[in-house]
């Protein structure tokens, strides 16, 4: 884990963090410049990213162990550098940014249908991943792979 230290980039990132009202330092780890958003809402983050003309890349969602919530990593590209903003949520909802960033549409829908997470403030169009009338089913719970052959091979 390294603090971001390239001088020109450092100034740019510091200005961006200040613009977003975040005091924590940027951390470079695993190919991403991470910034803890703290109390910054995901909608304010999206507005800030739009203001600097960053390009939305994706949301990576991870279900925390023991059904304790989710970690959503919002990834944006700024001049070829991948930025990451992790949000930990204990419930099953987070504000949608679809009205602020059109590019987020499909990944919000996919996350909704794959993890049963609700992105509040938006409507969901017909299902992407599943047939049927019930949107928002946690596919990881619905389709367990614990008895898959590959798992037993791994345990050997």
């Amino acid at each position: 884990m390294n603090a971001v230290d390239t001088p020109p980039k450092k100034e740019m990132y510091a200005a961006l963090a200040k613009e977003l009202g975040i005091v924590d330092p940027w951390i470079e780890q695993g190919g991403v410049h991470w910034l803890n958003p703290g109390a910054l809402s995901v909608r304010d983050l999206a507005k800030g990213m739009n203001a600097v003309q960053a390009r939305f890349v994706t949301i990576t969602t991870t279900q925390m162990p023991g059904d304790t919530g989710f970690r959503l990593e919002y990834h944006w590209d700024l001049d070829g550098q991948l930025l990451g903003f992790p949000y930990l949520i204990s419930g099953k909802s987070i504000e949608s940014i679809y009205d602020l960033c059109e590019a987020v549409n499909w990944i919000e829908r996919e996350t909704h249908e794959g993890f049963a997470l609700d992105f509040t403030g938006r409507e969901y169009e017909p299902l992407l991943l599943r047939q049927g009338e019930t949107p928002g089913v946690n596919l990881r719970d619905a389709v367990a792979v614990s008895d898959a052959v590959a798992v037993s091979e791994v345990k050997k």
């Binding site: 991948l82 499909w106 992407l128 599943r130 590959a150 798992v151």
Partner: protein
């Protein structure tokens, strides 16, 4: 009076598991809705039950065209978690395979586009050329689809005689210059079917988050090989073709010019390939706890892998894949609005969509 025409999930004009609901006023499309997920495979979830060798084989099957790109991106992410660095020769081999795959993908797309234009002769010409690219890939890897070239810390196979491969690439380049590119860029048949249709404005490309040739054909000069070089791309000289038109013709021109740039990169990589080892040579791979991300410029645009691992675990705890078609497909809606119904198959094909990637 408006009426809805469903196109897909399997349709003579759209031979893929994907659906376009076209709202038409007469012959003009006034709106469209897209539906995917007909062959959703849950590969990200499956990856969580695979060890670090199995997960490479699994992810190679995300896409049938750019299979190498998926293992390259995955391995680059896993290398960040293991601290393994591929030796220089492996980095060059990765560039060679990635560019051959781009050639294969672009020529295949050109053939399909020609078919949709009603230009069957060109379709046959492109597929003949595609065979030559696949012959090169087969000569290197022994395989025509899933090349199994990448591993954590390097590559599995050497290019033992780079100059022999270079001769094959140069023969291919001559044929491209002699037939494919002139016909696609000057033929009345091609131009009349492509110019001014399926326009994606620069503003819409930005708001949709378009990537790859689709973005570059709408005036956005983004290319990860230049903006965030990986493998040996920092040592390659090449141009990033950009067009401003945003129409099918612009997307065609960008890919045609990228074919030439790929040949340029291949020539450099094959002649400058350094001697040395093929991989880091670790008999046991040890992961540290954390998340690592890698991005690669695939033929269709940016691919991103985010891989999470827990130390001492044999399986990843999460593998997330963002494929280029997943980013580009929503833009089809804006491309077909105002278009003639008869142009919609070519317009949707102009993003070079990969449903296998999208329904990963």
């Amino acid at each position: 009076m408006s009426y809805k025409i469903p196109m897909g999930p399997y349709h003579p004009a759209l031979e893929e598991p994907y659906k376009l609901d076209l709202i038409c006023e007469g012959e003009t499309v006034s709106d469209a809705k897209l539906h995917i997920g007909f062959n959703f495979r849950g590969i990200e979830h499956l990856a969580e039950s695979r060890n670090y060798i199995q997960v490479i084989a699994l992810m190679e099957r995300v896409c049938g065209i750019c299979s190498n790109i998926h293992t390259l991106t995955l391995c680059q992410a896993m290398e960040k978690l293991t601290g393994l660095t591929p030796p220089p020769r492996a980095q060059y081999i990765r560039v060679v395979i990635a560019e051959l795959e781009r050639l294969h993908s672009h020529v295949l797309w050109a053939g399909i586009a020609a078919k949709l234009m009603g230009f069957k002769t060109m379709f046959m010409t492109c597929f003949e050329l595609r065979e030559k690219v696949m012959d090169i890939l087969q000569a290197i890897s022994g395989n025509r689809v899933n090349y199994s070239m990448n591993r954590i810390g390097g590559v599995n196979r050497d290019i033992e005689d780079p100059l022999a491969v270079l001769a094959m690439v140069e023969a291919l380049e001559r044929e491209m210059v002699r037939t494919v590119i002139p016909i696609f860029t000057t033929s009345t048949t091609a131009i009349s079917r492509c110019a001014g249709i399926g326009v994606l404005t620069r503003e819409k490309a930005v708001s949709c988050g378009a990537v790859g040739p689709v973005a570059r054909a709408s005036g956005l000069p983004q290319d990860l090989r230049r903006a965030a070089p990986y493998a040996a791309y920092a040592e390659m000289e090449f141009d990033v073709p950009v067009q401003q038109g945003g129409d099918v013709k612009a997307r065609l021109l960008v890919r045609a010019l990228e074919i030439m740039e790929s040949c340029k990169i291949l020539r450099q990589a094959l002649t400058k390939m350094p001697p040395g080892e093929l991989n880091a040579g670790e008999s046991k791979v040890v992961f540290s706890t954390g998340t690592a991300t890698s991005r690669v410029e695939a033929p269709r645009g940016e691919v991103m892998y985010s891989v999470s691992w827990k130390e001492s675990s044999r399986n990843p705890s999460r593998v997330h894949v963002r494929t280029p078609t997943f980013a580009n497909m929503p833009a089809i809606r804006y491309m077909v609005i105002g278009a003639r119904l008869a142009d919609t198959p070519l317009i949707q094909a102009s993003i070079d969509p990969c449903y296998s990637c999208t329904d990963r």
